[in-house]
Homo-oligomer: 371 residues x 4
């Protein structure tokens, strides 16, 4: 353990023997301090949306296919001009120093090891440059929580561009902080500084609650912001936090190069639909104009399959990776991706799908079940 | 504690630190005597309708909206000629002396402090005049349980009018007392007098069961009663206890100035639908001819949002306020309203709705979930 | 307690203080010996149908009605040429000596006391004549389990007719005994003789399992049997155990004077639909050609209301009455009927229905709930 | 107990007193060693599909029929040119030596005793010839897990044909091993050799995990393989593991003489629909061109009835038989079949169906229930 500002950070570095991703939560809870763990796993209000995010995958079912004459499914995919070895990517996730002393640099290493895609968060514990460097040339995106202060935004975007990120993910579903009861119960304040905030007067996040940090963030975000960031960076801008066809089209109309369907893992608006349930309609509206990233609730290879078969081009997840990070550092992260990729590979073979493109065209059934 | 007729009443006066409203029930149970608590929280028969009242909010989901370019949502609303700072109002609720020595006067103070609307019940522990005075000029409605004795009704209406109430709420769903098993288990009789009943021979309620009190109430209530009360008072009459489009139109035909959709918090007819489930159809039938108040099962800001988006103009609740009253008096009541308003404000921001009028036009999804 | 063949029978005679009928089961379990109790409360196989029988009442909801201008609902009803003070009748139920030393004679007394209708079972513990005499002139029906031996059938029908029963209920859903696991677990054999079987060589049931008794019963039952019994007795024949429109029409075609919709309380075919779920379609097909009796799962006044509103003319139940019999003899039976009638009366008032005929025309909603 | 390679095998030989098949699992768990039991009862991933396989039978309900004038239902059926005394057959199930020292030879004896149909698995603990001989002339099918090595396939098919099997079941849903967490938890390796693998260099399975064994199996299986096996053996080839109308037609197009609807008891692709839910659509597409066998989740006579009424010609099950084998050897197997046949017989009588052909034409209702 590493002690930072009185907060005990894991410094484990080892491969994990993973039975399945849901079981990681209990393991991680043992080594991540209460406040940090509550921040990571908690959702908004009574966590109804958080819970339904995962349950909703049962609303669609994968059809086992036979006599398909395939073997050795190929998980690689080409999207956003990148060639990735897996359609599963790292969601932009804040403050990974809560889970591990090496924070995002270890996550980036682990993701690179599996040939995946890493997304850095504005609220990273490690700096854009450090995280980028840790990725060893593997592709990374940078997620922007837009500040009211454009100097700050531009400074971050400059740094991201300099670090070579391939796209900007603009988060638009966090214009106020969700009502996260775990953080209230724990009276949680960030014990670890956020590297990207350090140069600004508003503070580096340390000793602040999520509410105070978000207070510096812009509440008013509109189509013009998408345009402005795209023009400023000349990078593809992916709009994250879309949950309706209307907003997807509004984002595309504003120049979005990608749609990121997410409800922030149930951490923002509680009482909204499961993210998976809105995916198919959004994909239909987007109609392949731009690629779609999907997250919220993904824990199994079968979830990845169902999301791809419902219109996603990439599927992201956060919490399980953070748990892997806490339990094993970069190698732990790698283990988590390998575990879900392994499940996905089995699912692809049994569903008669040789490629990710095949998965995207695989039929799903929609029988109704009660659990 | 204040001891009245051997019944221990809370006399706390303090701001509450509220995590969420559902958690107040357990806290309140510790300080409200068993019989009083059973009367407050119990419903009819096996409480199926009571339970579904809250569960049914999951039948609709709020669509998180992005790129809406809004901030600082405004909870104020204009309805029934009043300007209110919140669309959440106090439901008319009987016998608040069961929860606190100051009863309805403290509730009125707390509601006034948040700029909300207070509704007095016929069966209040404190008198119409006292409760009105406690409200400090903030608007109040008076709810009438119609007696068989019109002299009594007119006397109450006179007093209410004199006290300056802005409207009469005529309750029509309590022509007999629901089968409330908690009261039977506790052999509950009101230990605290009901101020408005004191001047009548039938007694002030003290030492009576709810059945005895309702026995003095009219069982036969029809459209003519709505007309008669409207004419007598020359005040808007809002008909409370509507659960069908047919009855809403019947009430309007009889001159109702407002429709109050409610199943009495599951305390009257068990085996009926959740109040939220019938709201949209009623609103469609009412078609903005008169405003709609909604209650039954409301515990979250997201519930308020969903009710407004389904056709309500005001959203009422009772039990959580009573718990807040027991736990903190007028300040406790204020804390309860502030808590739900805070949740509502976050929900409005994340749903891209700047005003209550926006909320009323917000789309809902209707995916089916099992919990 | 009375000891009969080593079996302890209740001999209590007292009014019961009933909170609700479901709560009687636990009370009765304490005083009815294990084998007898298992026989009474158990259902077929894993009791899925038994459980759904009651749950299915949640598939329809009663609309609370307001401004109906009614009071004092009237539970009396005219059906099969009889004037009854309640639409709730006693279902034909076997071997009531398992619950009480006085058996069916006490049940008949209790039912008569509330002005209801009693149905005797072929497998009664007390004789047709004795049970009829106990009814004090109140109307009774006789239920026939058809034997392979027509001499036996005719002898029973002669006796029933002599005793003055108003109709014959022919049970057609028990051509083989359901797979009742409670009886297998308890290795249950009837400890108490069945009075109507005493004169026959096949034995009086004592020391036999239900399977042995059913073995003497006819397996082949068809339309001709309905005709034959109607002609032989010149009494109305009501066919019990109907669960489909097709069979209802087939029974009417064969001369049935009434349709008895029942799945035998979940004791026969497991894996079939809840009896309530099939009622409305059957009633539509019957189209008022003959009256409909309904049973299976009825435990609340609201269930009676929903069954009447779905097409039933009379609503029967058995187990709760047997529990009341065990706990209080004739007065216990009376208490059970009074309890459910009281719930029904409240429900009728709150649903704006003055008469049973009004209830039959009351609308139901069909929102979907998960519990 | 027999000790084989340190693994304790049951050697019980006795009739079982069976309450119901679900209760056998707990009994069997006591005598089958942990690893073996986990292999038998476990499913893929979180076993959602496994669990829904059985729950889904509640999606359809059997209509109790009355006045049908039938008795003594006849369970015999003619299919694939065979006359069978029961429509319930033994599913091909691997490695039965895990449950009993006599393995498949005892199973074959038990199945023969009830006049049923036995299917041998490629991965049997006993040899094709021995198992066939144990069947005493009763019909058997041979199930092929196709190897990459055609010499091996042909050798097995030669042996099967020589042993007189009536058809080949080609399993096509196991081109990779499902992600079975029980086996991972137990680090399970087969302690008992698989007789049919003994002559091959790749080993006899002993000391291998299921993954290693499947590694020798073919991953690429297509229509040509169906044709090739049919031509090589000149026997009917039944394609097992079909879950969609498309694949059923593809198999028939390739010469399949039968369709075996199965999801491998939830052991392969998790997240797919319950096998019962896909049956009716497949049967509609097959349209009686070839017979249909159904398995996955069958535990009750009512399940068999519902599967037959949804289009199956034969209904198979595995786990309950293996539990019966462990608990009572050949006689235990016989007891299991007798128990389910007994339930089926009762169900048939109460549903008014005299023959299996009647069952196939019986109506089902589809009311929606939540458990």
């Amino acid at each position: 353990m590493t002690l930072t500002n009185g907060y005990e950070q894991s410094d484990r570095e080892e491969k994990l023997n993973i039975l399945n991703l849901p079981s990681l939560e209990g393991e991680a809870k043992k080594i991540i301090p209460t406040g940090g763990f509550g921040y990571i796993f908690g959702g908004a209000e009574d966590e109804w949306t958080l819970k339904e995010n995962t349950q909703a995958f049962n609303h669609a079912q994968i059809v086992p296919r036979a006599l398909s004459n395939i073997d050795h499914p190929d998980l690689s995919t080409d999207v956003f001009g990148l060639h990735l070895k897996t359609p599963v990517m790292m969601a932009p996730t804040a403050a990974q120093g809560l889970a591990h002393a090496k924070g995002e640099t270890d996550t980036a290493k682990g993701v690179a090891a599996v040939g995946g895609l890493m997304a850095q968060s504005t609220y990273s514990s490690t700096s854009i440059a450090d995280t980028a460097a840790a990725g060893n040339g593997a592709p990374q995106f940078f997620q922007l929580y837009m500040s009211k202060d454009w100097t700050f935004n531009e400074s971050l975007l400059d740094e991201a561009k300099k670090a070579g990120v391939k796209a900007i993910i603009l988060t638009v579903d966090a214009t106020v902080d969700g009502y996260r009861e775990e953080d209230i119960i724990n009276n949680f304040q960030f014990p670890i500084p956020m590297a990207n905030l350090e140069k600004f007067a508003s503070g580096d996040g340390k000793g602040q609650g999520i509410g105070e940090i978000y207070a510096a963030a812009a509440q008013k975000i509109g189509p013009d912001d998408v345009r402005r960031i795209a023009e400023y960076t000349d990078l593809p801008v992916i709009v994250k936090g879309i949950q309706s066809p209307e907003d997807a089209l509004r984002a595309i109309g504003a120049g979005a190069a990608g749609i990121y369907v997410s409800n922030h893992g149930g951490r923002q608006l509680n009482g909204g639909p499961a993210s998976f349930d809105v995916l198919a309609d959004i994909a239909k509206a987007v109609n392949h104009q731009v690629p779609i990233i999907f997250d919220s609730g993904v824990r199994r290879g079968s979830h990845v399959f169902k999301a791809l078969a419902s219109g996603a081009d990439l599927v992201a997840f956060g919490r399980p990776v953070i748990y892997g990070l806490a339990l094993g550092g970069a190698e732990g992260v790698q283990s988590v991706f390998e575990a879900i990729d392994h499940e996905l590979e089995i699912t692809m073979q049994l569903a008669g799908t040789k490629t990710i493109e095949d998965v995207k065209h695989a039929p799903l059934t929609h029988f109704q079940y009660n659990d």
